[in-house]
């Protein structure tokens, strides 16, 4: 069978063997938990609790602050210690609810649903919205909004992003192996929202066991298929994934829904299953803890709000002082100065490396080798764009398609001159987007 793919991309060392064979275990926090009010794209959530209030696990502590927004739930029972600004993984200070954990894990009563097929479309979407589900692959776009496009009848593909193209990450892999049934059921729930739509489970071919497992699970479904993708970074980037599976092209000004597609990540779809069938809100997620500075690389089911330092403590601490700590994958994650930041809905991994190739490599002049151009999945010439950024030439940057960059990092990865291409382009994109808002 022809493998599905896109033009460009890179093949970094994947490092997945470190953590892929170990099953997911629960991480139990003991100290205080931090719940940022903005863990998603859109308006921040509005707190529903005050200092001193007692909360239960599964209790909504902040409600959606607008249409494009999502509520936040407490993942432990305990007392609200304060509401104050705290640092998050991206480095920003975000208003957060701090809860001291009483260790009892008293839960609220959930409202399960025995037969979701009897629920109406509106009921399903409202259950998803109420559960605070956002895109858990990293972007954090509220899922209920994604599932309410302008023309629902135009949607013909629901794509489950099971590519997991980021090196080192295995959380989606473990989820597919351990909760494949939840994933498929979640996908069926989404398909029921759009009449005539087809489901695609898009998996990279470096996970043959997942492909076989999922194929078995969907044997009886005739509107769901498993598509085997060529293993290549960034196969799981939304635009590349849509192109690889359907041949449709989405640019930066379009939404996937404009070409009849909705893409959701594995964790998100499992969260949809939990919300619709079990009535459980989104309050925990799977985090890969790995890297050569980590004692026991593996995956944890982590309550949102738990700090990374606690997670590392559970893992047995670092082997040695790491040179670099990354929240997320090595290609698109954020480097962190401190691990005292909370796990949020959009966190995917904690990587700790003993060496940092970025600070140890020296930048030399560009030799025009075209490697960045060949690698760029967005079809840009990153070396030239980066030059324009260095000369503050916003106009040329935009005219040459700089805004189409998906910030995947391929150009910086391949650059033999070790130029910070992605960083330059990202910086200019941010400036340009900020200018447009004015």
């Amino acid at each position: 069978m022809a493998k599905f793919s896109f033009v460009g991309g890179v093949h970094p060392f994947d490092g997945k063997d470190l953590s892929k064979s170990k099953s997911i275990i629960d991480a139990q926090p003991s100290g205080e938990l931090i719940f940022p009010l903005s863990q998603h794209i859109g308006a921040p959530a509005k707190p529903l609790v005050q200092k001193g209030d007692t909360v239960l696990r599964g209790q909504m502590i902040a409600e959606a602050g607008g249409f494009v927004s999502a509520p936040v739930y407490s993942s432990v029972s305990g007392k609200v210690k304060s509401i104050e600004k705290r640092r998050v993984a991206t480095g920003d200070m975000v208003e957060s609810i701090i809860i001291s954990n009483d260790g009892l894990y008293n839960e609220v009563e959930y409202e399960p649903c025995d037969d979701w097929t009897k629920l109406s479309r509106e009921e399903i979407i409202s259950r998803i919205a109420k559960a605070g589900i956002v895109g858990m692959g990293g972007a954090g776009f509220p899922t209920s909004v994604k599932l309410s496009p302008k023309n629902p009848e135009a949607i013909d593909y629901i794509i489950a992003n099971c590519a997991e193209c980021e090196p080192y990450l295995t959380s989606d892999y473990r989820r597919m192996i351990e909760n494949g049934d939840e994933l498929c059921e979640g996908l069926r729930i989404m398909l029921s929202l759009f009449e005539g739509s087809h489901g695609i489970l898009a998996v990279e071919d470096n996970k043959p066991d997942c492909i076989a497992h999922l194929k078995k699970l969907i044997k009886k479904d005739n509107i769901i298929s498993v598509k085997e993708l060529k293993t290549k970074y960034p196969q799981g980037a939304e635009r590349m994934l849509i192109y690889a599976t359907t041949g449709r092209k989405v640019n930066s000004k379009m939404l996937p829904a404009d070409v009849g597609c909705i893409v959701n990540n594995v964790d998100t779809i499992c969260a949809i299953y939990n919300a619709v069938v079990k009535g459980k809100p989104l309050m925990e997620r799977i985090i890969t803890v790995t890297g050569d500075a980590v004692k026991d690389p593996r995956n944890y089911r982590v309550p949102c709000g738990m700090t990374y330092s606690e997670l590392i403590g559970i893992n047995g601490g670092f082997k040695e002082e790491p040179a670099k700590i990354i929240c997320g994958g090595p290609m698109m994650g954020f480097a962190m100065v401190s691990t005292d930041v909370p796990v949020t809905k959009t966190s995917t991994a904690l990587l700790a490396f003993l060496e940092d190739p970025v600070s140890s490599s020296e930048t030399t002049p560009c030799i025009n080798c075209s490697r960045c151009t060949y690698a760029c999945p967005a079809g840009l010439v990153p070396g030239r764009l980066s030059d324009m950024v260095e000369h503050f030439d916003n106009e040329s940057f935009v005219a040459n398609g700089g805004m189409e960059c998906c910030e995947c990092g391929c150009c910086s990865f391949v650059c033999p001159a070790k130029k910070p291409l992605t960083q330059n382009i990202k910086t200019m994109r941010k400036q340009e987007l900020a200018n447009r808002k004015k």
């Binding site: 379009m254 100065v337 190739p357």
Partner: protein
């Protein structure tokens, strides 16, 4: 306590750097050089060392007086020196060879901004400078082993040549151009390590072959055609000079156009020009139109229609 380092994504880098790429190019030229020494005697090595040393010292000198960072350890000047040497006849006076190297590095490369900024292949510019300045020394291919003209010159005057010896390299010519076999071994190394791909050499050689078939007044004559392909600097030029990163178009489409242009130019120079050779001039002429090719073949961003992108109508 040492704080962990922070930087923008990505946090990993491929192992290839400029030095490694340049070193691979040097390695890939070793077979051709080795054969040159075997074919023309130890003076070939002397000329090569002289060229490399002059290039590296010229770069050091320019970086010192222009107060640039010293980058002589990145093997780029070494590649230039080696390529110039392979393009010289073994009997060239050393001072002339050195002058060509100085021209290549000082004028063509460093004065235009250093590594990555030159618009012309420095090695070929150096060679052309020498051909124009010292035409007799640059076309004197008589050595102890060879007394005749180069195969291409024989071919041009209507004589017969032995294609087999041209393939293995036991013919008069410049130090590095004679052995097609050794050049192909080097080219294979570059292709296998991903340093170059076949877009430029492929389109160059193919279009040149077609040009020779059409205008060579021999029609499709395999013997004549293979003599043209194996003769002169075509293989050296197509695999090692035309593929020079700095002076080639950035997109694959542009590279193919560039290759075709080189093929046609080489054909014109070889078949209709006064000299039997044409590769050097074709490539440096090609280098000059690279900005133009780049302008018209810039890749179209993913998901945008080409016409919309070309209009520059995106806000």
């Amino acid at each position: 306590m040492n704080l962990p380092k922070v930087s923008s994504n990505p946090h990993i880098r491929s192992f290839a750097d400029t030095r490694l790429i340049m070193f691979t190019v040097v390695l890939s030229l070793v077979p051709a050089l080795g054969y040159g020494i075997y074919n023309f005697g130890p003076r070939a090595l002397l000329v090569t060392l002289c060229c490399i040393l002059t290039c590296v010292l010229s770069e050091l000198f320019m970086e010192l007086i222009l107060k640039r960072k010293i980058r002589i350890s990145d093997f780029s000047a070494c590649v230039t020196g080696l390529l110039i040497a392979l393009n010289l006849p073994v009997s060239i006076p050393l001072w002339e060879a050195a002058l060509g190297c100085i021209f290549a590095i000082v004028v063509v490369r460093e004065l235009f901004g250093g590594l990555g900024k030159n618009f012309m292949n420095p090695a070929l510019a150096g060679r052309c400078f020498l051909i124009i300045s010292f035409p007799s020394a640059m076309t004197d291919f008589v050595t102890d082993a060879y007394t005749g003209a180069t195969p291409l010159a024989v071919l041009k005057s209507g004589g017969a040549v032995d294609v087999k010896s041209m393939f293995f390299g036991s013919v008069p010519g410049t130090i590095g151009e004679t052995s097609v076999l050794m050049l192909l071994i080097g080219a294979a190394l570059l292709i296998l390590t991903g340093v170059i791909d076949l877009w430029i050499p492929g389109s160059y050689i193919l279009s040149f072959a077609i040009f020779v078939c059409i205008f060579g007044s021999h029609g499709f004559d395999p013997a004549y055609l293979s003599a043209h392909l194996a003769g002169g600097g075509l293989m050296l030029g197509a695999f090692f000079m035309a593929t020079d990163y700095v002076t080639r178009p950035v997109s694959k489409k542009g590279q193919v156009i560039f290759g075709i242009f080189l093929g046609i130019m080489t054909g014109i120079f070889r078949l209709f020009g006064p000299s039997a050779e044409g590769v050097s001039y074709a490539i440096i002429l090609g280098n000059c139109i690279v900005p133009l090719i780049d302008k018209f073949t810039v890749p179209v961003p993913f998901g945008i229609s080409p016409s919309e992108f070309r209009k520059g109508g995106r806000k």
